[in-house]
């Protein structure tokens, strides 16, 4: 059940250009995959259109992720990508929007696809991009008190500072104590 790429590209170009005009920057295909580059202001409306329009019916949001372009010196620094799939029509498309470093915000598509819940939280955790309108935008993989966003290019592989851990030795080693005291201390440690 091969999908006619050119037809879909034509359809996307016509419908989206008509509705959103210059906010749709370009539609390209590479290795058999379609990419729609668009302004970040229209992400939510485009998503809703693609979800509801009977010609597209992109009802399945596979994945949301982000790329940090700072190592290549590109501005704007981030780009967020949404991978859409249609279980009815069996076609795929990728939306990409640039997000500048000064104002790393983009609209959340949670109201369209609830699968965005975890993936947007992950992108926020790893890159620090804020998805406006997400009901519960917290860190998901790193601890809540973690400092920094690990997948940014300026974050080193080994981390910036190591967590401090109590060494495995008994903190009261060497202190004289009787049995009762020792057990009380153990209880309070646990």
């Amino acid at each position: 059940m091969a999908v006619d790429l050119e037809k879909l590209e034509q359809l996307l170009t016509n419908k989206l250009r008509e509705k959103f005009g210059e906010a749709i920057r370009d539609i390209t295909s590479y290795r058999g995959e379609l990419t729609v580059r668009l302004d970040r202001e229209v992400v939510l409306e485009v998503s809703r259109t693609l979800h509801d329009d009977p010609d597209f019916r992109f009802d399945h949001l596979s994945y949301v992720t982000c790329v940090d372009w700072s190592a290549q010196g590109r501005t704007p620094r981030y780009s967020v990508s949404w991978f859409l799939y249609s279980t009815a029509r069996r076609h795929r498309v990728k939306l990409t929007a640039d997000v500048p470093e000064e104002d790393p915000t983009v609209d959340s598509v949670y109201s369209v696809w609830r699968s965005a819940s975890f993936t947007e939280r992950e992108a926020f955790d790893m890159f620090g991009v804020i998805f406006q309108g997400h009901p519960d935008l917290r860190r998901i993989l790193m601890p809540d008190d973690w400092d920094g966003h690990p997948l940014r290019k300026d974050f080193p592989l080994g981390g910036v500072k190591s967590f401090y851990f109590k060494r495995a030795t008994d903190p009261h080693a060497g202190e004289p104590a009787d049995l009762v005291q020792r057990i009380r201390r153990q209880e309070s440690d646990i």
């Binding site: 790193m142 080994g158 967590f163 109590k166 060494r167 495995a168 080693a173 004289p176």
Partner: protein, 176 residues
């Protein structure tokens, strides 16, 4: 009160045991008793469930039908640390997980032993990154390290046999 049976003369070495270190001379009764206790301990090591990642699958494989860990008395994986005396740390310990591992270790009753299963829990393994603890021995003391990524079930069984050997050599404190 500490009564050291198996290693006479070692009682004063234990820090903080100032009460009545009764150095019982080795006799037939205490020798037999301590051997019996040691025999029971080393042949019924109950591990706590500490399957963290990939190694957990090999740990399950060790306990399951082919390798049958119950031949060595260690197949009773306890969900509660209170009922266990061995912790097989099977898998990568991340920095988020490390306090939990330490807590579960603290909740285990004495005497307790730890096997660091696999490269990750021994030294961090292939993950030298911001989120992974470089070896579980940074938070809890480890008795046996098992190399491999993941170790084969035979390696884990060998580690448990080594642990049995170690327990056999340990002194038994009858009252503590």
């Amino acid at each position: 009160m500490d009564i050291v049976v198996d290693a006479p003369g070692k009682a004063e070495d234990k820090a903080g045991t100032d009460v009545l270190a009764l150095q019982a001379p080795e006799n037939a009764l205490t020798k037999t008793l301590s051997e019996a206790i040691s025999y029971c301990r080393r042949n019924s090591i109950w591990p706590v469930m500490m399957g963290l990642s990939c190694c957990a699958i090999e740990m399950m494989g060790t306990a399951a039908s082919r390798y049958d860990l119950s031949r060595f008395g260690s197949e009773v994986f306890r969900p509660s640390p209170r009922q266990a005396d061995l912790m097989i740390v099977a898998g990568t310990v991340t920095k988020k997980m490390a306090p939990v591992v330490r807590r579960i270790y603290d909740q285990m009753t004495e005497p307790k032993w730890v096997i660091a299963m696999g490269a990750c829990s021994s030294c961090g393994g292939m993950y030298n990154v911001y989120s992974v603890l470089q070896g579980v021995d940074e938070v809890i003391p480890v008795d046996i390290y098992v190399p491999g990524c993941p170790p084969r079930p035979e390696a884990l069984i060998y580690a448990i046999m080594q642990l049995q050997k170690k327990i056999r050599q340990e002194p038994i404190y009858l009252f503590n």
